[in-house]
Symmetry: C2
Subunit: 126 residues, 2 copies
């Protein structure tokens, strides 16, 4: 049994380091990356590496939380970008191959917005 | 040691059933609910129950995935609403009290959007 939590830790550490060879080594050959918010999909290690290596700006990231069981993991990551003061949150669901590489990634980027009207009597702001 | 995965399953099943007494029983007295996208916070069981009981529409929900370790869990839930054809995704991070009730909830609602320009050569749509 591989260790999907360790693969996810390596995935983010190597992304932060822009070490795309080591990043790719965390992925199954036929890894499937999906982004439900835009309905985009990328299949295969090369494409997933390129998506990360070519498409992202001068961000740095901090892993806020990783939760994993034997075959699945979820990470919550904070991205910050020098050009943009606003922090972006990234949430990624992972499933594992039998040997502990990443088989699927489902990524979410929830954006900030104003609170809906009508529940301010129940909430405080932070 | 309590079972946070079981508490999360009960949390969603009782929300779907609008059984707010049983829903409240999954929560610590001083449960802290946070919604980072709007920077809203609700502290205490009564407020968290009211937020769910009073503020939501005629949705139904389906649990897509739960990932849990001994003290934390994450759920990915799909909400559908008869008045609104679009499905909403909900992602919730939970931490546990020692006896397996829900101590903290951090909720995200990532909305659909159009894919960014410049990566269409790498992606397919679904």
């Amino acid at each position: 049994m591989g260790d999907i939590a360790a693969a996810v830790e390596t995935y983010w550490a190597t992304a932060q380091a822009r070490d795309w060879r080591a990043f790719g080594a965390t992925l199954a050959d036929d890894v499937c990356y999906e982004f439900p918010q835009t309905r985009e999909r990328v299949v295969g290690r090369e494409g997933v590496v390129r998506l990360n290596a070519e498409q992202l700006g001068e961000w740095s990231l901090e892993v806020e939380r990783v939760v994993a069981d034997a075959t699945q993991a979820v990470s919550w990551v904070r991205f910050s970008d020098e050009e943009d003061e606003e922090e972006t949150q990234g949430i990624s669901f992972f499933t594992s191959t039998p040997d502990g590489r990443i088989q699927t990634i489902t990524d979410f980027r929830p954006a900030a917005y104003e609170p809906p009207v009508g529940r301010e009597q129940l909430t405080e702001r932070f």
